[in-house]
């Protein structure tokens, strides 16, 4: 039961990150490999603001602003020139951006792990199991953000424009939708989600280092692919599934050393059965 809650909590974080991957993929048709590193930058922003002000709220705000700007900036500088080029070229550039962010952070903050003191609100005893409040908070806020995002996409004008762009970019631009603007907006929202994820991440794991984003990034990427990249409910399901599996594996001593292998094995298995993930749409190339 504890394991399940821990898994849900981690899964919630993965799902938030995976949402960023999946939105960008759905709309810009590219894998933003550097998404995990935006979380890392967010975490450093939280750390720096906390060190300067000592309060959590400005830290969160600064993190969201920094990440959003960074997301938009990378899109402008690195990805927009490649719009229309081979998707693999874009993927390789994204890997480059990921390395760039990591090495720049290392040059600024050093390679070491820096502890961050953020929120410990104790535990809640419930039916014999103790759950930390921050886990509950993480889980609750993740759900709220996801619901909010779904509403945004289905109920607002910008949201429907996003859907239109992801359906058919050419048609959308003919309908007078500013495609580049929508893509920038997507990057902004994805990066803001990453900033939220970085705050939740720090609540669970209170330390920052330049490689902080790499593993959660790859895991969330895996989650997004498992759920079917481009699908928002898919990202949520994938993230939570992966989080629970990771925690179940590490609670079983025999499987613990193979945790990563099992998660990736699951990914391969799902892709073999359903090449576009659990909830992905199949796209056929027209001949």
């Amino acid at each position: 039961m504890n394991t399940l809650i821990n898994g849900l909590c981690l899964g919630g974080i993965y799902a938030l990150i995976a949402l960023g991957y999946t939105m960008v993929y759905g709309i810009a048709k590219m894998l933003n490999f550097a998404h995990g590193d935006i979380i890392m930058v967010g975490a450093y922003a939280v750390y720096t603001t906390l060190a300067l002000t000592g309060h959590t709220v400005p830290a969160v705000i600064v993190a969201v602003i920094v990440c959003t700007l960074l997301g938009v900036l990378t899109e402008r500088v690195a990805y927009r020139p490649l719009r229309g080029a081979s998707p693999l070229a874009v993927l390789i550039t994204a890997i480059g951006v990921s390395y760039l962010l990591q090495s720049v952070s290392q040059l600024i903050f050093g390679a070491g792990t820096i502890p961050v003191s953020i929120g410990n609100w104790g535990t809640l005893e419930l039916m014999g199991i103790s759950i930390s409040i921050s886990s509950l908070l993480t889980l609750g806020l993740c759900v709220v953000i996801m619901v909010g995002l779904s509403l945004f996409i289905t109920r607002t004008k910008a949201g429907t424009a996003m859907l239109a762009v992801s359906e058919d970019r050419a048609a959308a631009s003919l309908m007078g939708i500013n495609v580049n603007g929508i893509i920038t907006l997507t990057f902004a929202i994805g990066s803001a989600l990453a900033a939220c994820a970085s705050v939740f991440y720090l609540m669970q794991i209170p330390a920052v280092s330049p490689t902080l984003g790499a593993m959660p990034g790859i895991k969330a990427f895996t989650a997004a692919v498992i759920g079917g990249i481009g699908s928002i409910p898919g990202a949520m399901v994938g993230g939570i599934l992966l989080g629970v599996i990771e925690k179940v594996c590490s609670s079983i001593p025999v499987l613990a050393p193979y945790t990563t292998a099992i998660e990736f094995g699951l990914l391969i298995l799902i892709l073999m059965v359903r090449p576009t993930g659990l909830m992905g749409k199949t796209r056929r190339e027209k001949v």
Binding site: C9, T113, P115, N120, A207, K247, S250, P253, A256, T259
Partner: protein
């Protein structure tokens, strides 16, 4: 096209000659030495950099002290350290560059994995090294010139088991299956627990993680809490251990935490949310009343502005041991080759008469295998 081909050939030929010129090096790299050169590799970047930097600082302090006292028969010492990021292949590259810079004796590598690689290289050239902190058993097994200052993993793991069963009845253990240091400690611990007739899953409970899952310890901690453990044994490095402590505090699981020398440095990583008692095995006590240690701590704080940890003391000791051994062997040639120096030092170190009283233990002697025999000066450091 012919012309073009010719030009390309000419350019290639030119590169030939240039490369040849740089590659021709005679084996005697120490011929130009004006000081005795001691070399080392260690992680100066990355997660283990605290240890590398500490060893570097301790060693530098020792060199300074030796040189201030006039060196060896008037010849000064110098110290070179290359960053290996705790990776085996970089340690090998680092070793060769040091060797070619005229390194005569070495304090090896800081971490176990790279020191194994370092040792394999050093063995080929007959370089003697005295590693301050590479505690894995295979490090000193490579050859007759490999020595170390610290206790081996086996010694520490066994000691931890003995200590813990004295006071606690249900021990929770977490270890890193992908790290040689951590698995070495755990295996020794497990062996000793078996010897003490303790049963896994009733007297002690074990969970593990890997390099890829070394951030979120919620499962391990909550499982151990559910099992009702009264102590946590964390045989790994302090960055991860700090995360375990914080997670335990978050889950209101404030049992004492016990670890080995890898926990040295944890103080800076903890904040006031952690109320549990944290203690670890270390042969070096900053607050010891011992005069030598006091002098070292003062000098270190003066120079670097912070208190030394065990690795700094190990690094200091390692250099000092080499110095004392060279003095005892009567070394008197600044251009002595590394292999010749090793042949002089080895009999001294293993001869039985050479004893060294250091910061990390009194009356150190070395076995032929290279492990250090010293009074088990074990200190349990409680966090303030």
């Amino acid at each position: 096209m012919k012309n073009f081909t010719r030009i390309v050939c000419a350019v290639l030929a030119l590169t030939f000659c240039l490369l040849c010129a740089t590659a021709c090096g005679e084996a005697n790299y120490t011929a130009n030495n004006t000081t005795y050169v001691i070399g080392s590799t260690g992680p100066l970047t990355g997660d283990a950099s605290v240890y590398g930097v500490a060893v570097q600082r301790g060693a530098m302090l020792a060199i300074e002290e030796i040189n201030n006292a006039g060196g060896l028969n008037g010849v000064l010492f110098s110290f070179e350290m290359v960053d290996d990021m705790a990776a085996a292949d970089k340690a090998a590259t680092g070793y060769t560059s040091l060797f070619e810079k005229g390194m005569q004796a070495s304090i090896g590598s800081v971490t176990s994995g790279s020191c194994a690689s370092f040792a394999a290289e050093a063995e080929g050239d007959g370089v003697l090294f005295m590693t301050p902190s590479a505690s894995a058993e295979n490090v000193i097994e490579t050859g007759e010139n490999a020595f170390r200052v610290c206790f081996g993993d086996a010694q520490q793991g066994t000691l931890a088991a003995d200590r813990l069963v004295e006071t606690y009845s249900k021990i929770g253990v977490i270890y890193d299956t992908s790290d040689p240091y951590s698995t070495g400690l755990y295996e020794a611990f497990e062996a000793q627990m078996t010897k003490l007739n303790k049963v896994k899953d009733t007297d002690y409970f074990v969970y593990s993680f890997t390099k890829e899952t070394n951030k979120d310890f919620s499962t391990q901690v909550s499982e151990l809490k559910a099992k009702g453990c009264d102590v946590l044994f964390l045989p790994f490095y302090y960055t991860e251990a700090a995360l375990v402590c914080k997670k335990a505090a978050q889950l209101d699981f404030n049992v004492p935490v016990f670890g080995c020398d890898g926990l040295d440095g944890i103080k800076d990583q903890l904040d006031d949310t952690v109320t549990a008692q944290v203690s670890y095995i270390t042969p070096f006590d900053v607050e010891s009343p011992d005069a030598d240690i006091k002098a070292f701590v003062d000098a270190f704080e003066k120079k670097y502005g912070e208190a030394p940890n065990q690795f700094a003391a190990d690094g200091y000791d390692a250099v000092m041991i080499l110095y004392e051994a060279m003095k005892a062997a009567g070394v008197n040639d600044v251009k002595i080759s590394a292999a010749d120096l090793a042949d002089l030092l080895r009999p001294v170190l293993t001869g039985g008469t050479f004893k060294y009283d250091g910061l990390t233990g009194k009356g150190m002697t070395w076995t032929v295998e290279g492990s250090c025999e010293k009074d088990p000066q074990v200190v349990i450091v409680d966090r303030d």
